[in-house]
């Protein structure tokens, strides 16, 4: 299940929901707001989503992962709103009988989420400037 969330991400609760007696491996990815990007100090990040389409596209990505890899469970959440350094922006968790499938699927999902889901981020810099990432036009 993929969802866009205005609430903070709680990895422990999300991982607990993946509990499965058949699972031998649980791989999680958590994307944290970091204090710099391309060498520029970052103060905070704003995330915005076109939520209905983001959730549809996210679900499609999870379904693709289930088709490509031998998974037992899968879940992902993307946060929106104004986030501070260290906050979790995105979380992906995958369970499988064996670890190879879990690693490969987790990687696939976060790569596809970042490339395809209509979510945008604006970085606020220590300099006072801000910028929508990937939207530079020069």
């Amino acid at each position: 299940m993929f969802r866009i969330s205005t609430d903070s991400i709680d990895p422990a609760t999300l991982e607990a929901a993946l509990t499965d007696a058949r699972a031998g491996a649980c791989v999680t990815f958590c994307g944290w707001v970091r204090n710099a990007n391309d060498g520029q100090p970052v103060l905070s990040l704003e995330y915005e989503a076109f939520a209905p389409l983001a959730e549809k596209e996210g679900e499609r990505i999870l379904a693709e992962a289930r088709e490509k890899f031998a998974l037992l469970g899968v879940a992902a959440v993307h946060r929106v709103g104004h986030l501070q350094i260290g906050e979790a922006a995105v979380w992906v968790g995958v369970t499988a009988a064996h670890r190879g499938a879990a690693f490969d699927a987790c990687r696939y999902i976060i790569d596809e989420l970042k490339a395809r889901v209509p979510v945008w981020k604006k970085e606020h810099y220590a300099s006072g400037a801000s910028a929508w990432i990937n939207c530079a036009t020069r």
Binding site: Y47, P52, H78, A89, I110, P118, W120, K121, N134
Partner: protein, 79 residues
């Protein structure tokens, strides 16, 4: 015909609003984007913007119909 346009992220800021309903003769999302880009000085060229119609991704050359809700999607940057 009348269509509704929703704006997000950079386009929302450059347009100064999140949604508007407008009259257009643009037959496609590509044509509508060019019309709006000229009017509002959007900085993103058309080839960097995807379109969605009524909540689903759509080709830039898809047919627009009266009553459609169109979203122009700037380059995504999740995570």
């Amino acid at each position: 015909m009348k269509v509704t346009v929703q704006y997000f992220a950079l386009l929302r800021e450059q347009r100064g609003l999140t949604q508007e309903t407008l009259e257009t003769t643009a037959p496609t999302p590509a044509a509508l984007y060019e019309e709006l880009r000229a009017r509002h000085a959007f900085t993103l060229p058309a080839d960097r913007v995807r379109a969605a119609i009524n909540g689903e991704f759509a080709a830039a050359t898809a047919a627009l119909r009266a009553g459609d809700t169109v979203v122009f999607i700037p380059p995504v940057a999740g995570g």
